[in-house]
Amino acid sequence: MKSKVILIFLILFFAFAQYWGLVRAPADRMMGDVYRILFVHVPAAWNALLLLTVSFVGCLLYLLRRKEFWDRLAHSSMEIGLVLTGLVLPLGSLWAKPTWGVWWTWDPRLTTTMILFILYAGVLILRQLIDDPVRRAKISSAVGLLIYLNVPIVYLSVRWWRSLHQLQSSPSTMDPQMVLALRLNAFALLGLAVFFLVQRMRLLKREALIEEKESLPPPLPRGAQS
């Protein structure tokens, strides 16, 4: 019940932030109205990266502490990070088409995001193939660590390979209304992502409990002992 109230509040906040981005923020001098895509694209990218970083921390702490909690954190944040990464890519294409005229370029950030998506999808597939929960946690944490280490290397190598990159637009060159809209949207999406994360972790915990119960032998009827 409590989570329903929180969810409704989060959805309202999300809709409010989008209203701000779509209506209240002024049109850009260069990009016109198309730039409003950035109010969903950029927060999704930030939150995806944040969640994948959380999953890295979860993997690391699991290997150090061996508490199931950290594995559940790593798994859940990986899944939601993957959903957001999968969202960022088509949103980027929708931004690229009207502004650059193409759906896709071999820009380092785009290419890295694509590879990131495949890497994390691979780990989630891998998780489904291991039955023993402890081995599953150990192996996927080890892989999660290596994958995260690979991200900056992929980025660097693609950047050198293409030897071109655009500068990030910093908030100082933007209208204050735009900055506000961007921040509102980022926090609104963060709220939803955290909500999903908590729910996903609860589900994993319940699932583990059920599996534990099912793996036990059925209780003996009374009087059947010895």
Binding site: L22, M30, V34, V83, L87, P90, L203, R206, E207, I210
Partner: protein, 42 residues
């Protein structure tokens, strides 16, 4: 300055809502399936 392009904006916002809602829905479905399993295992 780029004029128009609202169809891309609507596409992007629609896609965001679609993806987030479907993920939320899938979580809810998994929750229901677990509840059913919990009942059966007792």
């Amino acid at each position: 300055m780029i004029h128009g392009g609202w169809e891309f904006v609507w596409g992007a916002y629609g896609l965001t809502w679609f993806v987030l809602t479907s993920y939320g829905f899938s979580l809810w479905q998994r929750h229901r399936r677990l509840s059913k399993r919990e009942k059966n295992s007792r």
